[in-house]
């Protein structure tokens, strides 16, 4: 039909843009990972698996595992806090919920660097928390909380918490209150109701929140750089270094490739969980 070709004209410029400046560069990364680093930092066009092997070299793989650990811990903490917040919002009177949600998400809208910087202000050696401790009567030299793994985790949780609140609130708000009431009638206590009914039905929201926080955290290089201090390395910083300081692009590309593979795997897993859950919901309605 003639009406089928016309919209393509409208779509073409944007599609070309995405193709040329997203697809091609990303494919380029994949290709680069299989070339050798030149003697003077350039690229030598011989195919090799060295770079990929190097990623799994204990020296670098340790960083990978540590990044995954920090990302996992941050995601877990964000999920606990975010779920609690979403649950509490959903328990408030309906007319207040959208406003509460709006204010829970508002910080998410401001600049990432600024939000991270706010924690530098709080945590540094002359920062508010140290001052608060002095004022409360602590004497002597207090350990700086800045430039530590804990600071990085706090920063990641803080930055991505609103996202988890959103993803958990969606299924919670849709939850039919009748369901938990029905379970109560059957003699379950409040806690059992939550564990056996509410929680399972809202797992997809938690999964979405977890995966996104994990994915955004594991590749993060701003937060480790600012809150972790110079010596602290996560995989994002390692990639950054290969491209901007060490000048070993093939290795940087190999690192990114593994990173992308982990992210894609998780995102796909999350999609599967979401699909299963919606299937289960359909079965219940039917």
């Amino acid at each position: 039909m003639s009406t089928d070709r016309r919209p393509m004209i409208l779509m073409t410029p944007a599609m070309l843009w995405l193709f040329g400046l997203m697809v091609v560069p990303c494919v380029l990364i994949l290709v680069l990972a299989f070339f050798r680093r030149g003697v003077y930092g350039g690229i030598e066009y011989t195919v090799t698996l060295e770079n990929l092997a190097l990623v799994f070299d204990p020296l670098y793989f340790k960083i990978f595992l540590k990044s995954a650990g920090i990302a996992g811990l941050s995601a877990a903490i964000a999920c606990v806090l975010g779920y609690a917040a979403a649950y509490a919002i959903a328990a408030m009177p309906r007319r207040h919920q959208s406003m509460l949600l709006f204010f829970a998400v508002l910080p998410f809208w401001s600049n990432y660097l600024v939000r991270t910087y706010a924690w530098i202000v709080l945590l540094n050696r002359e920062g508010l928390i140290v001052n608060l401790a002095r004022w409360l009567g602590f004497e002597g030299e207090l350990p700086s909380m800045l430039y530590s793994e804990q600071a990085v985790i706090i920063g990641l949780v803080y930055n991505y918490l609103p996202f988890v609140i959103l993803s958990c609130y969606a299924p919670l708000s849709r939850l039919n209150p009748d369901i938990s009431e029905a379970s109560r009638d059957l003699g379950a206590s409040g806690w059992t109701t939550f564990r056996r009914v509410t929680l399972p039905m809202t797992v997809p929201g938690i999964a979405t929140g977890f995966v996104f926080v994990f994915v955004l955290s594991i590749g993060n290089f701003v937060t480790p750089a600012l809150l972790g201090g110079g010596q602290f390395q996560m995989i994002g910083n390692l990639v950054y270094a290969q491209f901007l300081t060490a000048n070993d692009w093939p290795f940087g590309a190999a690192l990114s490739m593994v990173l992308i593979a982990v992210m894609l795997g998780l995102l796909m897993l999350q999609a599967v969980v979401a699909e299963r859950a919606s299937g289960r919901k359909g079965a219940q309605n039917g």
Partner: protein
Amino acid sequence: MADRNTFRLMLIILGVIFAFLYIPISVLVGLSFNEGGLPTAWTGFSFKWYGALLENEDILKAAGNTLIVAIFSTLLSTLLGSLLAIGVEIRRRNGKWLETLIFAPMIIPDIVLAIALLSFFSLIGVKMGLHTIIVSHVVFNLAFVCAVVRARLKNFDWSIVEASADLGASTFTTLKRVIIPVLMPAIVAGALLAFTLSVDEFIIAFFTAGAGRASITLPMQIFAMIRFGVTPEINALATLVMAVSVIALALSQRLNKGGLPGQ
């Protein structure tokens, strides 16, 4: 009464979480107005640090660069993203690949896109600068604009498009006089979103700006400054940047009652 206790518990949880979310930024905003500039003591309210920003050449230059990047990438991405949205919704039956291509820029981690673009520009020998930041920002911005406009198109009455053709308008005239005007609130909302995203974006700009200070943007300037610690000027600058994004996004939200993507 169990219910009342549960409700109290919920209020406490909300209190704690909101404190966690708002105390850090509130302290930052508060300190930016502290005459003395130090976190240790409140010495009086003052705009002094904001004034100081205006005398900082580096910051002004970076702000100027950011404005250039944001304006051009917003214009380009609004044009491309809106047309894309209209085309996609007219076609309706879109393959999975197409949907993925349109969705990908919104979820692809910044660092991945940043290094991919850096390698790409270097390999094809493009000299990097503000122009490379602009075209790179368009990649994700056009996807966000497209998402906002598409949300509006979901409940668009397509019979008005047929009515326009029936009354004698060409496809182009219909686009110009019917489709785009009706979508205008969503397009403006998308543009505002794109503008804020571009103003705030750090990682991609950082990688595609090229060497030297010539094309440094505000987030890059902030990053450089905060690595050396806390100063009253940064507090003021951070407060300003935060205010701009929140206001622009709230405005965008207002215009586009369907909500922002991801919400």
